[in-house]
């Protein structure tokens, strides 16, 4: 009788052990493998005019009221460093900003402004390596920092010919104004 009781207890214990083993296996977990993810957003700086052509329908000699159609410029930046964003305009050959064959208008006779500020001729530069000597004009230099590394601004660019003291030969005068932004 004693042996029977002993065997019963041993058997019960064995069943309990087996049962507990089964429960433990449910919920078995592996090691944690990891995958490292890196996505890089590259820095960008763009200038986008809303029109590629500015026109002046009729030149008036000896006047500064020779206004080209305005151009809207959007400067956008997404930076990781730097303290300012500047926008510069320039003519590649200042002595020939606009040309009508051999009749030339120098960049000193072309003036620009943004957002109704005062007009200034394209006679400066270069600015931080942008532009050419005597044919450039800086439109703005905006401070940026950690809180403003992602931003944009839109400005109206007004251009005019200041022909005070100048008489032009009839014809079409064409030229190219370069616009470029830089981070410093």
């Amino acid at each position: 009788m004693h042996a029977l009781l002993k065997n019963t207890l041993v058997g019960t214990a064995a069943l309990l052990i087996a049962s507990s083993t089964a429960v433990a296996q449910v919920g078995l977990t592996s090691n944690v493998a990891t995958v490292s993810l890196t996505a890089t957003k590259n820095a960008t700086l763009t200038v986008t005019p809303n029109a590629s052509t500015a026109t002046l329908g009729s030149i008036t000699d000896n006047s500064n009221v020779n206004l080209f159609t305005p151009v809207s410029l959007t400067t956008a930046w997404n930076l990781t460093a730097g303290s300012s964003v500047s926008l510069v305009g320039w003519f590649a050959t200042p002595a020939q900003a606009l040309a009508n064959g051999t009749d030339l208008i120098p960049s000193s006779k072309v003036e620009g402004r943004i957002n109704s500020a005062g007009y200034a001729p394209f006679t400066s530069g270069p600015f931080s390596g942008l532009g050419v000597a005597g044919g450039s004009l800086q439109f703005f230099a905006q401070s940026v920092g950690a809180g403003s590394y992602l931003g944009s601004r839109t400005d109206q660019l007004d251009l005019r010919l200041n022909l005070v003291g100048t008489t032009t030969v009839a014809g079409d005068y064409t030229g190219t104004l370069n616009l470029q932004a830089i981070v410093q």
């Binding site: 083993t21 449910v26 996505a39 890089t40």
Partner: protein, 187 residues
């Protein structure tokens, strides 16, 4: 006659030995033998453990260039294990990838396992699987029913990842980093 004596001697000895043997028998003892092979479950990323997107495009779907190749190995008991499951999850779903000023949530990171459950790209927004994974930052990749035939098995799957920035605010330039956890769990 002399040989009859030779024959009788061993017979007599045999009788004596038989008569002399005690009628005792030892009590049977049973020794139970148990050898336990421990269950095993492991996950190994055999390639693609480092994923890099060199040039993220805003407002677009950005695919990570190569799959994450995941090898799962298990040795389990069919009567005690119903399924083997593989999950992927981010520890902090709201900050799956952390950048200079912006965090990319796990809802923007999609996974696909064509040999598993999410055969199409699916955001990592599921709740945890049992006690594992994180609420809102998990994706169950597959579930395998365990039978006698696959109680010891290894399988290899490709996990494709993508970053969906459609409609997401433009990211500031810089690096966005995160860690995707991959784990197998039995049920």
């Amino acid at each position: 006659m002399w040989y009859s004596k030779l024959v009788l001697i061993p017979v007599a000895l045999s009788v004596m030995l038989t008569l002399g043997a005690p009628e005792l028998s030892a009590q049977a003892r049973i020794i139970s033998l148990t050898a336990t092979s421990a269950s095993g479950l492991s996950v190994l990323v055999t390639s693609g453990a480092i994923q890099a997107l060199p040039a993220v495009t805003d407002n677009a779907v950005n695919n990570f260039p190569s799959p994450v190749v995941i090898q799962t190995t298990w040795s389990v008991k069919p009567g005690q294990t119903n399924t083997v499951n593989l999950i992927a999850y981010f520890a902090v779903p709201a900050q799956a990838m952390v950048g200079p000023t912006t965090q990319i949530p796990s809802s923007r990171i999609l996974g696909r396992m064509t040999t598993g459950l999410p055969v199409a790209f699916t955001p990592m927004t599921q709740n945890g699987f049992g006690a594992f994974g994180t609420a809102g930052g998990t994706l169950r990749l597959y579930t395998v029913n365990i039978t006698g035939s696959n109680k010891n098995a290894t399988r290899t799957d490709n996990l494709d990842l993508r970053l969906n920035l459609v409609g997401f605010p433009a990211l500031q330039a810089g690096s966005y980093t995160g860690v995707l956890n991959v784990r197998a769990v039995t049920q």
